[in-house]
């Protein structure tokens, strides 16, 4: 009898600690800033908007980089792509941010089967996508996250926290359209007036800025192509990856 009672208590205790219904990091609308360290190196920063059911994290690998937006809402995590539209986390082929950021997106988990442990009503650990996050708390909520991903260890430290106005538009998801119509937008500015500020050729590869010669050539048209491709540089890689994945060509061939 005593053994059975003990077993029942144990089961009840485990059930109380482990739950798939993850608590939010902050239950009231909150904006917080986080630094992400790997050892002594800062690998990025996150601006986090949280509320009871939704979360939005804006990841920056460095200050000058454009943020990569992650949105956790309605039980799914989405990533906003620079080419336009949002893709589910599983379809996103990014860098380390795709492993780090989900630790902050609770209550939305990367999959419904993720292992979330709760103690005294607070998140204590979260196991997802091969990573394990352990949470530290202070009076304002989660103050730091120790994250182990493979052989790497990260510390996500909260650097500021404050209340924020409830803003439902932060969590609106716009799923990507079909690749063809999406990528059709990439060169929408091909026929816009040439920008004087844009180097006409691929300057990053050490090629000169565009020269024009009085030789009857149409250098204005040429510069439009070059300027388009220059502006594309950041987006082209991602667009190409998707294009090749869809067609099973290039780096995505079987």
């Amino acid at each position: 009898m005593r053994t059975r009672t003990l077993l029942l208590y144990s089961i009840a205790a485990v059930a109380a600690v482990t739950s798939h219904a993850a608590p939010a990091l902050f239950t009231t609308p909150t904006k917080s800033e986080w630094s992400v360290m790997n050892g002594k190196s800062t690998v990025g920063s996150v601006t986090l908007f949280s509320e009871a059911r939704n979360s939005r994290a804006e990841w920056k690998a460095d200050r000058s980089a454009a943020p990569i937006v992650f949105i956790g809402t309605s039980g799914k995590i989405w990533v906003r792509t620079v080419a336009g539209g949002d893709v589910e986390l599983d379809s996103y082929k990014g860098g380390i941010e795709s492993t780090i950021v989900p630790a902050l997106l609770l209550p939305v988990t990367s999959t419904t089967s993720d292992d979330v442990a709760v103690a005294s009503g607070k998140i204590s650990s979260y196991h997802y996508r091969g990573a394990r996050a352990s949470y530290r708390h202070d009076t304002k909520g989660v103050s730091a996250v120790d994250l182990k991903a493979g052989s790497q260890q990260f510390v996500l430290a909260r650097t500021s926290v404050g209340g924020a106005k409830a803003d439902a538009t932060l969590y609106v998801v716009r799923p990507r359209k079909a690749a063809a119509s999406r990528m059709a937008r990439l060169s929408g500015d091909l026929f816009a007036p040439s920008k004087g500020t844009v180097a006409a050729t691929a300057g990053t590869r050490g090629v000169e800025k565009g020269f024009k010669f009085a030789d009857g050539g149409d250098y204005a048209a040429l510069e439009k192509i070059e300027a388009r491709d220059m502006e594309w540089q950041a987006r082209l890689k991602e667009a190409l990856a998707e294009f090749q994945r869809e067609g099973k060509v290039g780096e995505e061939q079987p």
Partner: protein, 284 residues
């Protein structure tokens, strides 16, 4: 004194043929030297190696000429599509590091062009003959091959308009010695070759072979190019004016088919992507 004068006279008279002979020899030497020097200059110029920057500078001149002849297509979808397919194939080329640019130009003429330094153009006329993405990949592969094998660049070298010592690109912000006059000469050579005389049968066959191989490496069905050649062959038979320029600058489609068939017939697999081509091409 008189005897001395006579002796000098005799010596002079007798030496005249020898002098004349010596003069002939000297003349021959001079002429040969000129020939040798000229030959050396040609050899030097023919072997002048252009840096990638110089190649891009020349490519811009050639591209501006192509764009002066044919305006850019205003079909954004096709521009994007060609860029995506082109970059997919160019990544497998021996010069994947070049800043590749792909664009569609508006003309019913069925053709595609490449300029040094990574500029590739395809006409809307050629696009109208394409039936699958794999065909497009092979056409762009053909043009990429012209660039990787430096075919137009060799023609520019051969024309000897650029001396060996000419520094086309002096600094990051200067045009070096690529002047308006030199740009005009380079542009004329390239346009003559691209639009009128062609750059040589051997080079075209080589571009076919390399281009199809590149498309194959990028995962496209290699024999799709044979389908495109069939379309060209039909155009040729119909005596279409859209085919005239291509006929003047390329070997006959049947010959190209024969030359390629051996290398692609054994190949199986790869993507055709006819439906994707339709989707992009139809604006859907």
């Amino acid at each position: 004194m008189k005897a001395i004068t006579i002796a000098i006279f005799i010596a002079a008279v007798s030496a005249t043929p020898a002098l004349a002979q010596f003069g002939d020899i000297l003349g021959k030497v001079n002429r040969n030297r000129d020939k040798i020097m000229k030959g050396a200059k040609v050899a030097r110029e023919a072997t002048k190696e252009f840096t990638d920057q110089e190649e891009v500078a020349l490519g811009r001149v050639v591209s501006a000429q192509i764009l002066a002849a044919f305006p850019l297509s205003k079909n954004d979808r096709l521009q994007n599509y060609v860029t995506l397919v082109g970059n997919t194939v160019a990544a497998y080329s021996s010069r994947s590091e070049l800043p590749w640019h792909f664009a569609v130009v508006e003309t019913p003429t069925v053709n595609a062009f490449s300029a040094p330094g990574g500029y590739v153009f395809i006409t809307t006329g050629a696009m109208s003959q394409v039936q699958s993405e794999a065909e497009l990949a092979a056409i762009l592969g053909h043009e990429i091959a012209h660039t990787t094998e430096r075919h137009i660049l060799k023609e520019i070298k051969r024309a000897n308009v650029i001396s060996a010592g000419t520094d086309l690109v002096q600094s990051q912000y200067g045009a070096g010695q690529l002047t308006d006059e030199l740009a005009q000469k380079v542009g004329k050579i390239a346009i003559d070759k691209l639009f009128k005389t062609g750059i040589g049968r051997r080079e075209e066959f080589e571009a076919d072979r390399v281009g199809v191989a590149l498309a194959g490496q990028a995962g496209y069905k290699k024999d799709a190019f044979l389908t495109f050649l069939k379309s060209l062959s039909a155009l040729e038979k119909s005596k279409s004016s859209a085919f005239r320029q291509l006929a003047a600058t390329h070997p006959k489609p049947q010959e190209r088919d024969q030359a390629l068939r051996a290398s692609v017939s054994s190949q199986s697999g790869g993507q055709l992507l006819a439906e994707r081509w339709q989707t992009w091409n139809s604006g859907g």
